[in-house]
């Protein structure tokens, strides 16, 4: 199902912004907040996982039930997971479509990757102390 992906700041995301290798960070920014009616339509429950596919690629996130989210949109705290699907197109403004990316969501059994796994997939070498 197609949804508009909305990303934004949250307290938990901000609290962990200097600790991106910490599981709290991944937990916060891999959460896809969905309206309960949309969850029903999609056939997912709170805590289950969805594969989110956008113009740049696809990533698995956890579903979080959230009545404040409007129908046919999802909200994901701003961070590395959302950026797996958002394209680099800035329409000549320098600003990517952080709040207007159309993404396809479907329920999945695939796991949510960790931050180090995401980094490796891009060719990075996650820091290990």
């Amino acid at each position: 199902m197609i949804f508009t992906l909305n990303t934004g700041r949250t307290i938990q995301q901000g609290n962990n912004v200097e600790m991106k290798y910490h599981p709290d960070y991944a937990k916060e920014v891999s959460r896809c907040h969905m309206n309960p009616l949309d969850m029903l339509d999609l056939g997912v429950m709170d805590g289950e996982r969805v594969r989110v596919t956008g113009p740049a690629g696809s990533v698995v996130m956890y579903v979080v039930q959230d009545e404040t989210v409007s129908h046919s949109t999802v909200f994901v705290p701003y961070g590395i997971y959302a950026n797996q699907v958002i394209s680099t197109e800035t329409h000549g403004t320098g600003m990517p479509d952080f709040k207007t990316t159309e993404a396809n969501l479907e329920p999945t059994e695939d796991s949510v990757l960790t931050v180090p796994e995401l980094l490796r997939a891009l060719g990075g070498m996650p820091y290990v102390a």
């Binding site: 991106k20 404040t68 800035t90 329409h91 600003m95 990075g124």
Partner: protein, 431 residues
């Protein structure tokens, strides 16, 4: 030891009334900060890099500061088109050196602005900025509008220091006298405390702003029954609240800079505020994110003429966001080296831009290991501005405050490291 009037180096509220208690080199207590500020101070110890690190094929190893600086200088001098990115999390004196460096290298310098309030600046460059300092709002505003902004999550003390909950000189019982309007596509926590919440359909901000402008100009007849999901009745009510206010303050965030229309939304908001100024007093303030992102815009402007995304390859400053902004430069694989200072693009840029960071020599100057570290050849840890480094920072309304250093953890500052790198580059280029 108790430090008073400490300045919080997290968001652009730049609260300067924190009380921080240190004991034997550790921060043990913080008062007056919000959750974000608390975390910044109290968790600082735990995960700083102890020394520079260097990436080898088999993993990360430590490096001497000398080697790190030598190698950084080598990388920058060897590049045709280096990108110097970030800057929002450090003090102005360091940002200044960054701009000088970009000039002498003929490279590109950009800040997190381009993925945050860059569109606001683009709009300001079209229609200007009818603004004020936050104290004007605190002392006078009887109407506050948060449009596409969620201060409770992103600027937690904004409402208690500057708007909704704070007393003002001209408002006796501010909380009762002030009205708050919140506009968003979802019912955020900030919306919960609004007197009037406007739930807008995604992408509908431009149309709603236009509708409000039309109403303010006396053309309500042309407004249809709903605009982007908002009823005409609510629009009329909002417009009336704005016109009847003695002083209205409009704050906005990523909700309109990052959505469809980007800077055109902001332009429309500015023009609405301009129009309202013909009826009453109205001001507009972008809710800047990082505590010193505006500082970079200020420094970069007085030095180069432009607030961000400045390209020096022609021997003078050239500005063209969309072309000279970081995401675009990385996406086009145009830069052949990158220095990242005080920000974390690997988490905050779309992934295809991030990939290129790993394909070119990238160095990061940052106290903490972060996602960008994974794409670096080197990272040099430095003192944290506001904790063990001091310097100038600009609040979201342009007020400059000197951020303090309350501890010494034995790290060099951004200014120290960048200063040394710049000196060596100048020497090599015989400037």
């Amino acid at each position: 030891m108790l430090h008073e009037d400490v300045v919080c180096p997290f968001c652009a509220c730049l609260c300067d009334d924190l009380k921080v208690e240190t004991d034997n080199g550790t921060i043990v207590k913080v008062d007056n900060a919000c959750d974000l500020g608390n975390h910044k101070f109290l968790r600082d110890d735990n995960h700083r890099l102890k020394e520079p690190i260097r990436r080898t094929p088999s993993g990360w190893t430590s490096a001497t500061l000398q080697h790190a600086i030598d190698r950084t200088v080598e990388i920058l001098l060897g590049a045709d088109r280096p990108l110097l990115y970030g800057w929002s999390g450090t003090h102005g004196e360091a940002q200044s050196i960054g701009v000088h460096m970009a000039e002498v290298l003929g490279g590109v310098i950009d800040s997190t602005t381009s993925v945050c309030h860059g569109p606001s600046i683009l709009a300001i460059q079209e229609v200007g900025h009818p603004g004020c300092t936050l104290g004007q709002v605190k002392n006078r505003a009887d109407l506050v509008v948060y449009w596409g902004a969620n201060p409770i999550e992103a600027h937690p003390r904004h409402m208690s220091r500057y708007t909704t909950y704070t007393d003002g000189f001209f408002l006796d019982r501010a909380f009762k006298e002030r009205k708050v309007i919140v506009v968003d596509i979802r019912r955020t926590q900030t919306a919960e405390v609004a007197d009037e919440f406007i739930l807008i359909k995604k992408g509908g901000d431009y149309a709603v702003l236009s509708a409000l402008r039309a109403i303010v100009r006396g053309k309500s007849d042309m407004i249809p029954a709903t605009v982007a999901g908002v009823t005409k009745e609510q629009l009329l009510r909002i417009a009336e609240m704005c016109k009847k206010a003695k002083f209205g303050a409009f704050f906005f965030g990523m909700g309109i800079t990052q959505t469809q229309g980007k800077y055109k939304n902001i332009r429309n908001a500015i023009e609405l505020v301009d129009e309202l100024n013909r009826h009453t007093k109205f001001t507009l303030t972008p809710m800047r994110g990082h505590y010193n992102v505006y500082g970079f815009n200020e420094v970069c402007t007085w030095m180069t003429g432009y607030p961000y995304a400045v390209d020096f390859c022609r021997g003078m400053a050239f500005y063209n966001p969309g072309e000279t902004s970081a995401v675009d430069i990385l996406t086009r694989k145009e830069c052949d080296a990158c220095l990242v200072v005080a920000s974390d693009p690997a988490a905050h840029f779309p992934k295809d831009a991030v990939r290129h960071l790993g394909e070119i020599p990238t160095v990061q100057i940052d106290p903490y290991p972060n996602t960008t570290t994974a794409f670096c050849e080197l990272q040099i840890p430095v003192a944290v501005t506001g904790i063990d480094a001091q310097g100038t920072s600009y609040r979201m309304d342009g007020v400059p405050i000197r951020v303090k250093s309350i501890l010494n953890r034995g790290y060099p500052t951004d200014t120290d490291i960048l200063g040394e790198i710049y000196r060596r580059i100048k020497e090599a280029k015989r400037v």
